[in-house]
Point group: C2
Chain length 218, copies 2
């Protein structure tokens, strides 16, 4: 039994992120041919609590069997439907510099169904060159190409200074989902989903914990 019809469930960001963790864990378990898994064991593997695992899953349905646990393959399939990763997403990369090229070369994204179809830059020396089988397109062709190739997700790896400008173009081209790597707060209309990956923030978080940690046993 899967809850589908009640369209106004408010699922929290943390629940969705944990679904990603469950999905990854279940993929590994499936490879190991394990047939079922308990919330306890799944929690242990992802450093969570069993109650949290059960509560998260319960928002979407009842997938387990009392006394036994969850069927690995079936639950994985269910979560893939919830996350929308049971399909292929057409992705474009904008900015083929250090981080942009690294991401284009990363095969895991493709394996997970995020297929980078187009890559853009404004550097004449890069336009036309080949990156892992993809030809760098001119940024001036972006709006047209995004539409023609039915791109649904854009990854932004351009300098922060031009990021807002590019976002405006991307939004104007009808894109509704953007993953941004520039360390800047970008403005988008409410129907566009934006996630910003901020690596400096993670380093600063480590810096904070190192700085403010309890002094080692006085």
């Amino acid at each position: 039994m899967v809850k589908k019809s009640d369209g106004k469930r408010k699922i929290s960001e943390s629940t969705i992120k944990r679904l990603s963790l469950y999905y990854r864990a279940l993929s590994l378990l499936e490879k190991e041919n394990q047939e079922t898994i308990s919330s306890k064991e799944l929690a242990r593997r992802e450093k969570l609590t069993p109650a949290q695992v059960r509560k998260d899953l319960s928002f979407f349905g009842s997938f387990g069997t009392r006394g036994l646990g969850y069927p690995v393959s079936e639950l994985k399939q269910q979560i893939s439907e919830i996350l929308g990763v049971n399909r292929v997403w057409n992705v474009a990369m904008v900015g083929v510099g250090n981080i942009g090229s690294a991401l284009v070369s990363y095969k895991e994204f493709q394996k997970q169904g995020f297929i980078i179809k187009l890559i853009f830059d404004n550097d004449q020396r890069k336009i036309g060159s080949n990156h892992k089988g993809l030809i760098v397109s001119d940024i001036r062709e972006m709006a047209r190409l995004l539409r023609e190739h039915h791109i649904e997700i854009v990854i932004l790896a351009v300098p922060a200074i031009v990021a807002q400008y590019i976002v405006d173009e991307v939004v104007a081209a009808g894109i509704k989902a953007i993953l941004n790597f520039a360390p800047i707060n970008l403005q988008v209309p409410p129907d566009v989903y934006l996630r910003t990956e901020n690596m400096s923030m993670e380093l600063e978080y480590l810096s904070f914990t190192l700085t403010n940690r309890r002094p080692p046993a006085e």
Copy 2:
């Protein structure tokens, strides 16, 4: 007046992450020679609420002036002390592949005081080669070199399959802070701070929102 002595304040992860945002915003404001900023304006710039900004800052002290706002340079300085970014951190990178090289080439980290001093790999073809002025060291020398160069933070950019093994070595070498890019849940002792940057999770989050978004006006 700065709260310093009360050592058991529990500061939430989200507050710390927002401090990073404030810090970045204040750096920009300082460059624009703005002298003061209100919680209202700071909130607007980072898409937060004024109350949140004030509450966050109030955990650490009273930095503002009623009726006027916060002094930009002074607040920036205070936050840099809180985050521990008013100093230099010695960093090592393990794994000089796609993402590792991209991060080593990224000058912003150095500018922020996170200085990559050492880079490691186990690939004989890479060991000894030059990346942005740094020579790739043999992973077998890691424990010794980490100590000799007083490294405090390690960035992990190795394949997931070897990540736990490397973490164990890094921990054995006395490192207390690790930023991990491998999509795997790593085990560390309680006195070691680990942050994992999971880009697939962000793409899956976008996939979820695109899949489950309210259908556009029926």
